[in-house]
Subunit: 369 residues, 2 copies
């Protein structure tokens, strides 16, 4: 299955849309900001970057309130950096990249306000900034040779180009789990290594020498996937699907034939791939751990009450549904989605009562050699 045909966030602006449930992505963008800042600081006083037009690509921009947030942050940092170095800010070209199925029309509706606010905040002579959309897969070439200065991506490059092959024996699982045969994890690892290598290869042609990529993705805290909290999340989603099998709403064989086009690597895997591919040097790699519920700011290991675990379950559900609904609906049909995620919220609540789970975000900053 080509992931590129059905992989996009829940569209529109309804209650369960990605547009209304992207707080976790916003938090991650905010937390990765110091690393973006560090990367941009390294460009200061280099005419190749800030001399004429500073060219940024945002891989997996999606369609929601965060779509232009990253661009805004980057522009703010460059503007500030130029002010501190007494130089005129450059022009900006922001290329928003996402798959062909992404709702770019909705993104474009945001542009008049985006431009107006830039003018208001930074003055009439600032920039200008030019936003364009580049529809396609970030595993393919997207830009001319040496045409980018900063490639940015938040919460996208954990999506694979396709579901790994050879997962027929991953019975009643939608991802690797503690019950998966060993070849399943290996197939995922191999697909990820192949995809991420491809991403580095194609971008290495497009990024100028000394240019940067700052990529935030969902990762693992442990190299052994069976002890990582991330596996628990997908196991709970599988459990929620199996509940529907009992109700006769889903066929167990449909669960077996569905596997997530997703992989969350550990730091060591990323380091090895960057090193082996060879076009970029690794400047920094940082892990950021967050509660599943993006509204939960309590980092102790247990939930203080059943009420709290219930609300964390509900919030986790909304966040996961916004990301997963189109993918699941295309395989299982949209009629089961509401029930599926109600089950999921229940399982998450029950799990959080016993032990609070976290996801691990990894931010890497690499420099084009």
């Amino acid at each position: 299955m080509e992931a590129s045909n059905i992989l996009h966030m829940a569209s529109g602006d309804g209650e369960s849309s990605y547009a209304n449930n992207s707080l976790v992505q916003e938090i991650v963008i905010r937390k990765a900001l110091p690393i973006v800042k560090e990367a941009i600081k390294s460009f200061a006083n280099h005419d190749v970057f800030f001399g004429q037009c500073f060219k940024i690509a945002d891989l997996g921009c999606s369609s929601g309130p965060n779509t232009l947030l990253s661009a805004t942050n980057i522009i703010d940092i460059v503007h500030e950096e130029c002010k501190q170095n007494n130089r005129k800010a450059p022009q900006f070209q922001v290329s928003l990249v996402d798959l062909v199925g992404n709702d770019f029309n909705t993104v474009f509706e945001l542009l008049p306000n985006f431009y107006a606010k830039l003018k208001e905040d930074k003055g009439k002579d600032f920039g200008p900034c030019f936003v364009s959309a580049v529809p396609g897969s970030f595993y393919d070439r997207l830009f001319p040779d040496e045409s980018l200065h900063l490639v940015y991506s938040s919460y996208s490059v954990h999506w694979l180009s396709q579901v790994p092959e050879g997962l027929e024996n991953n019975t009643s699982n939608i991802f690797f789990s503690k019950t998966s045969p060993p070849n399943v994890f290996e197939a995922y690892q191999k697909q990820y290594a192949s995809d991420f290598t491809k991403l580095l290869q194609v971008r290495s042609k497009e990024v100028v020498s000394g240019g940067r990529m700052v990529l935030t993705l969902i990762g693992r805290s442990f190299s052994d996937p069976t002890i990582d909290d991330s596996v628990v999340a997908w196991e709970l989603l599988t459990l929620s699907l199996l509940d529907l099998v009992k109700e006769g709403l889903v066929l167990e064989s449909d669960i077996t034939s569905f596997n997530m086009p997703f992989y969350n690597p550990c730091e060591d895997e990323i380091k090895t791939i960057v090193e082996n591919e060879g076009s970029f040097s690794l400047d920094s790699i940082t892990a950021i751990r967050d509660n599943w519920d993006p509204y939960d700011t309590d980092y102790t290991n247990t939930c203080a009450s059943k009420e709290l675990s219930h609300s964390h379950g509900e919030n986790t559900k909304k966040m996961v549904r916004a990301v997963m609904e189109p993918l699941l609906a295309s395989h299982f049909g949209s009629s089961i989605i509401e029930k599926l995620f109600n089950n999921f919220a229940k399982h998450v609540s029950e799990s959080l009562v016993i032990k609070k789970a976290r996801h691990t975000n990894i931010v890497i900053s690499v420099i084009k050699k």
Copy 2:
């Protein structure tokens, strides 16, 4: 009224959509091809154009079968030119420009086939070609300094940035007509001169020295607008609206308050504006006259039969409706559209029986000084 908010072709792929009624635009693209070819030939063997990445912008790409046709034509010509000069074809960056309200999502769905066909026709090592969308008005800056080699536009730059001011006395007209007071035509002329000057100014910053623009637009054959066929077309549309006033479906005051954000200049006006603005030199200006009905290939001055004039009327209706429906529906309401265009077809047929009318397309090719 800012034209940019409501100016787009009839969306979707229904019977009266622009996608299904854009033959006239296709014919115009085909007829302007020799001029595009001439412009591209002048680039051959200049490394600045064909050395690395050939950068094209299509202003007013719209959303239909023609959207990628112009890009395909240009790529074909460059490819052929490079073959004849024994040089490797460059990479291509095609920027599709249209207003924020254009249905870019539908355009993007065409891209996988577009890329596949390029690979099939030209081989795996061709290009690659990178398509992006740049939403915005072509009267504003859209691209970084000196970042374009060829700007192309077909059937777009006759749209104004706004309805001219001071048309309150253009009673019961939707454009200038034989019954309009003299200030109406002057206001249109002034708005067009201001807009086209702005277009030349902003593009002059973006196009490299020696770069080209080839623009096809609806024009006039006569400098006196009252004797040009184009005025007749809008008068027939006005007549069709006045029919609905009689039926109580449209208020006459709504006709007076509506004026087309459109202007079709004569050759001399274009020459003067290009000369006065000064950034581009005029390489060529060509007028192409076509029958209103794009399917009508008989260039005699009368219709051979009533049946023929009826079918020409129907075809003209479809073509005009595809372009005008969103604009008219936003002012008069969508409920009148069907009746309005049935009236229009009738008036066009009756008019063609007496004398066949033609529209004048003007193709200009200018070179950045």
